[in-house]
């Protein structure tokens, strides 16, 4: 019985966290994620549809990158977030979870806190651009979810990121 109920809880958690969000770790930097697959079906989902998550991810850009041990937004990062804010204001059905990440060059706990700073930097900027704070949540993965695994700066640079992962959409 206990196992069954915890499995049910797990399924419930997954359906909230992942169903509209197949890329829950912000792993898909490339353009070939089948984003529409897990979505709730009401959205065409093609990247050519400007109101689709795929468009947000690929055309607007879902992530900003950071310097080593920094959580200050770069000019490029602010430009990306400007685009995200415009999109979020036009697509008010969506909420988002902003995931903060660090490269592997740091201790586990510190990197969790650093990822939180990065995610919050992106969140705070989106709020200054008019996005309702209640639509944005943050989570830090620290160094737990790298997308590139070489132990060189080329990879580290892509791992130091804050990724805006959409959820919801035509939910009501």
């Amino acid at each position: 019985m206990k196992l069954k109920s915890s499995l049910l809880m797990l399924c419930a958690a997954l359906s909230v966290a992942a169903c509209t969000n197949p890329d829950r770790f912000g792993g898909g930097a490339g353009g070939n994620d089948a984003f529409g697959n897990g979505a709730n079906g009401a959205i065409a989902g093609s990247a050519s549809d400007p109101s689709s998550p795929a468009y947000f991810q690929q055309a607007v850009g879902d992530r900003v990158l950071f310097e080593v041990d920094q959580s200050t937004l770069t000019a490029e990062g602010r430009a990306t977030l400007d685009g995200q804010a415009v999109w979020l204001l036009q697509n008010a059905d969506f909420t988002a979870v902003i995931e903060g990440h660090a490269d592997e060059q740091g201790t586990r706990e510190y990197n969790l806190a650093l990822g939180a700073r990065r995610a919050d930097a992106a969140r705070a900027y989106l709020v200054t651009q008019g996005v309702q704070p209640g639509r944005l949540q943050v989570v830090s993965y620290g160094k737990e979810r790298p997308i590139e695994i070489c132990s060189q700066e080329a990879c580290y640079a892509k791992n130091r990121r804050a990724v805006t992962v959409l959820a919801g959409g035509l939910s009501s």
Binding site: A13, A17, T107, R108, E109, D120, A121, V139, Y141, I149
Partner: protein
């Protein structure tokens, strides 16, 4: 007549063998554990004598584990049985000291085992060969056959303790994160094992990220961080029943880096809210919380002093990650790390005299120790990524995780003496990280 019976956990009982030989004496057989390089002490551990039919294999296995515990410290060197002149076939017969002296054995451990059903009984004696005398009383352990490794560890703990004058650490458990898969798809689950990597038992599944389990002082409970809800949250898990509960689940915050206070009721941990991470404490019975730091900087990785009065933690309030000590009730903190580089994951030693830490300097990671006031810093290891020290119950050995670089990198547990000697991997079925060493079992 001395005939102590120590029974706890129901698993292993200890009695002194009677009659004890001679009077208790410290004897010249002694290893002083110091900073200097030492020559390992030659020890002979013949297979334990089988006193019941079919227990010879068990006698051999027990001897192997006892010897592995002793040699694993780096303080002992085992003499191969092929060198033995005397064979021990009768536990009660007098020891032929000359035969052991001739092969330069300085310590000799003899024992006998009897098995009846699932019950096992082990007797042993420790001899100082060059003095020609027994060192301490013979002892007897009784338990169940599936706990035979614990009995071997208990024998080795007594031998280690009598020869070094320090308490042992072999009959202890370590909770850690067992890992499989590449860095970009790593699966993690909590596991608990004997200190030497045997008897691994998994405590969680690997559906959700789990991080940094921490034993309570008595080893009955584990605190850890899980992403079960989608956000990092702290759970407390009962090791016996594997029942767990979340400590708090506040929207808009993340909590991680928990550790028990010595009282087993207070937990210190970090809460991230917005861009800020501070240290808080909670009484896990009442749920009452208290904020211990209040700066815009990152404050995390708190660890109590063994008397519970102080907390060492890391903060980047100076601009880089450094170590600080404050009262267990919070308030002013004193910085203790001043060397070049960054310092994190401080852990107070069980003796109270040292802080172990992770240091990053010039692109390398180190495990090191310093005194509580920050003096006498010593780095014990160096690699691409060493992290997360934990202390053996006697404060002599540190276990940590070493991750190798590149796409094929994996994480392995290692142990090292606080002298910096005797670096060795801990064999686990999968990769390992975030070890937390529990107490010596009773």
């Amino acid at each position: 007549m001395m005939n102590r019976v120590l029974c706890a956990l129901g698993a292993v009982c200890l009695t002194a063998l009677v009659p004890a030989l001679a009077t208790a004496q410290s004897g010249p057989l002694r290893i002083e554990i110091t900073e200097g390089v030492i020559e390992p002490l030659p020890v002979a551990v013949p297979d334990l004598v089988a006193e019941t039919a079919g227990s010879a294999e068990m006698g051999a296995q027990l001897a192997r584990v006892i010897a592995a515990d002793l040699t694993g410290t780096g303080l002992f060197r085992e003499l191969p049985s092929s060198a033995f002149i005397s064979q021990v076939t009768d536990f009660g017969a007098p020891v032929q000291y000359a035969d052991w002296k001739a092969i330069n054995a300085q310590a000799l451990v003899t024992g006998a085992v009897s098995v009846s059903g699932n019950q096992i009984n082990v007797k042993f004696r420790l001899y100082d060969v060059f003095s020609g005398a027994e060192l301490g009383d013979g002892l007897q352990f009784a338990g169940t056959t599936d706990g035979w490794r614990r009995i071997a560890h208990k024998v080795a703990d007594v031998v280690y303790s009598r020869i070094t004058g320090e308490s042992g650490y072999f009959d202890s458990r370590v909770v850690f994160v067992s890992e499989t898969g590449p860095k970009d798809n790593r699966r993690k689950r909590l596991a608990v094992m004997d200190y030497d990597g045997a008897n691994v038992q998994y405590l969680t599944g690997s559906e959700d990220i789990v991080l940094a389990p921490r034993f309570s002082k008595t080893g009955d409970r584990v605190l850890y961080t899980s992403y079960e809800t989608g956000f990092p949250r702290i759970y407390v898990l009962d090791v016996g029943s594997v029942q767990r509960r979340v400590l708090e689940n506040n929207q808009g915050t993340m909590s991680f880096a928990p550790r028990f206070a010595p009282d087993g009721q207070t937990v210190v941990y970090s809460i991230s809210q917005g861009s800020n991470t501070d240290i808080h404490s909670m009484n896990i019975n009442s749920g009452v919380t208290q904020r211990l730091t209040n700066t815009p900087a990152i404050e995390t990785a708190p660890s109590f002093s063994p008397d519970g009065a102080r907390i060492v933690f890391e903060s980047d309030r100076s601009g880089s990650q450094q170590l600080y000590v404050m009262s267990a009730s919070g308030g002013e903190a004193t910085r203790i790390s001043f060397g070049e580089g960054r310092y994190g994951t401080p852990v107070w030693s069980p003796r109270g005299d040292l802080i172990a830490f992770t240091k990053q300097s010039k692109g390398r990671f180190h495990i090191g120790v310093m005194r509580v006031d920050g003096s006498e810093e010593r780095l014990l290891t160096a690699s691409f990524l060493d992290e997360g020290p934990t202390w053996s119950p006697n404060g002599r050995v540190i276990m940590f995780a070493r991750e190798t670089q590149g796409a094929d990198g994996r994480s392995t547990l290692y142990s090292v003496d606080i002298t910096g000697r005797n670096l060795r991997p801990v064999r686990t079925p999968e990769g390992g990280s975030d070890p937390s060493w529990g107490p010596l079992q009773r």
